[in-house]
């Protein structure tokens, strides 16, 4: 349990059973008036933000959060199955993964944020390697990286790539942005 005076930037709190992280914090107090703790909070499940003002007597619960290191195993319909080193299994729904579901490769190590035993976020390594399954033939010799064309990777994720990329090439994707980073090898 946190009291208002414990609040600070980066602290994780629970509001109505939902975990939030404080992204902005300011202590304010009008002359002779009560202390007010102004917070901007980000919903750790949906990413939505809200602002709240707390007073000295307000309390907030500490969310039960756990970070688990796991490896991707297989996909089962709309669910993705991960295993930890003791072969304990955790199932993550597609909507929790978002676009990250396209960047999974077998045995990739990820960090799964778990709230009250429910996975709420999956953090991937910064770069993953994926094969281009669909794109217009590459313009040979065109090494410019600032002119882009549409392409697709396995699973149908659409990504913009430079003109010299061919079907079958392996590229590196930056999972923070979901964008093309560089080419690993040609087909």
């Amino acid at each position: 349990m946190y009291s208002a005076s414990d609040l600070r930037k980066g602290l994780r709190v629970e509001i109505d059973g939902v975990p939030f992280v404080i992204t902005d914090f300011n202590f304010v107090k009008p002359g002779k008036g009560a202390s007010i703790y102004n917070c901007r909070l980000k919903n750790m499940i949906t990413g939505a933000t809200l602002t709240r003002s707390y007073r000295s007597n307000d309390t907030l619960n500490e969310p039960k959060l756990e970070e688990r290191t796991m490896r991707y195993s297989y996909k089962d319909g709309d669910e993705y199955v991960f295993l930890d080193k003791n072969f304990e299994q955790l199932t993550v729904r597609a909507e929790v993964l978002g676009d990250n579901r396209f960047f999974l490769v077998e045995e990739i190590e990820v960090t799964i944020l778990v709230h009250n035993d429910a996975p709420i976020g999956v953090e991937l390594p910064t770069f993953v390697e994926k094969t281009i399954v669909e794109t217009e033939p590459g313009a040979r010799g065109n090494t410019a990286t600032n002119v882009l064309k549409p392409a697709k990777i396995e699973g149908g994720y659409a990504i913009e790539v430079p003109l010299f990329i061919n079907q079958g090439d392996v590229i590196r994707i930056d999972t923070r942005t979901g964008g093309y980073s560089d080419r690993v090898r040609t087909a």
């Binding site: 005076s5 300011n26 202590f27 304010v28 107090k29 009008p30 002359g31 002779k32 008036g33 009560a34 202390s35 007010i36 102004n38 003002s53 000295s56 007597n57």
Partner: protein, 328 residues
């Protein structure tokens, strides 16, 4: 930004006393050199201002037995006593003893107050005058701010975080009722709501106050009168004002409550409220009440936050850039 600009503003010759053996190095404190020079000029200008007006500079105890009872101001314990939250009660005792014009510059302490514009240990300037009211103090404050800006910066305007502020000659005055009706949509003088008042003050009123010049919020509901007297023409409000510059609260002034019976009643009511909230209840300052009983002439006084004034004149947004020894 602002602090770097200070390096280019002309510095009066007396402000530059070289310190023997000081080599500017890579200490994290080095970055405070310009703001410390500015602060030193500000402190000197404050003293010059009051000395020229015949005020007596006084020092009253920092460790005290009975901090003023205020609902939302908490004192830090110091052994079997407390650290002062303001020198107010002691200075009024000196007023009652016949000192007519007094000022004090010194540290005050408030438990739990830490933010961009708060630090638990801070420097207050307080001054008091007999036979004066809060309007007289306002005129004096205006003259002080002009004199300090002139001495510290060589000008009476500021560019504070992309806002141009003319410190002179116009100060806009709004009653608290007008400000709340305009920015928060209700009138706390007609119907006071303690919960909403503080919240709307910081989240709706203060951020929307005019920024092009200093603003004075005047005539507070008696519910938040603190140690101010009621306004004779309108007993629903107290003769209290607060000065805002760039939306930052700089000073709080009263026509002082000099009636010992009403003062005792207010302290008792505040003690009961603090007890109900589970906050420490400080003993009544009987020496102060005795001084009121012996007779305090009409008086007015003010507390001005020196660290915030430095912050403003330095053009920085946080006390982090003003106080060198502030822990992160």
């Amino acid at each position: 930004m602002g602090v770097e600009n200070l390096l280019r503003t002309p510095i009066p010759p007396h402000a530059h006393t070289p310190i023997r053996g000081f080599v500017s190095g890579s200490s994290p404190l080095s970055r405070f050199k310009p703001v410390l020079a500015l602060r030193s000029r500000i402190l000197r200008a404050i003293r010059d201002f009051f000395d020229a007006r015949g005020f007596l500079e006084v020092e009253t105890p920092i460790r005290i037995a009975a901090p003023a009872l205020e609902l939302h101001i908490d004192a830090m314990p110091s052994g079997d006593a407390w650290l002062r939250t303001s020198p107010e009660l002691h200075m009024k005792r000196l007023l009652a003893a016949g000192c007519e014009r007094l000022y004090q510059l010194g540290p005050c302490f408030r438990q739990g107050e830490r933010g961009q514009r708060h630090h638990p240990e801070f420097t207050l300037l307080e001054w008091y005058r007999t036979n004066a009211d809060y309007r007289d103090i306002l005129a004096e404050t205006k003259a002080l701010i002009a004199a300090v800006a002139e001495a510290a910066l060589g000008r009476t305007w500021l560019d504070y975080r992309r806002t141009h502020i003319e410190l002179m000659p116009v100060w806009e005055t709004l009653t608290v009722a007008e400000a709340f009706k305009t920015f928060a949509g209700w009138n706390p003088v007609e119907h006071f709501d303690a919960e909403r008042f503080d919240l709307d003050m910081v989240n709706k009123v203060e951020p929307n106050l005019p920024a092009a010049c200093p603003v004075v919020l005047m005539d507070y509901p008696t519910d938040v009168a603190a140690l101010a007297r009621r306004k004779p023409e309108d007993p629903r409000v107290a003769e209290r004002w607060e000065l805002y510059i760039a939306g930052i609260e700089i000073a709080n002034a009263f026509s002082e409550l000099t009636d010992p019976a009403e003062q005792r009643t207010r302290f008792a009511a505040c003690a009961a409220e603090r007890r109900a909230l589970g906050k420490p209840v400080y003993p009544l300052d009987e020496n102060f009440l005795a001084a009121l009983e012996s007779g305090l002439p009409p008086a007015a006084g003010i507390a001005l936050g020196v660290d915030r004034l430095v912050m403003l004149l330095a053009g920085v947004a946080s006390l982090d850039d003003v106080l060198p020894f502030r822990d992160p």
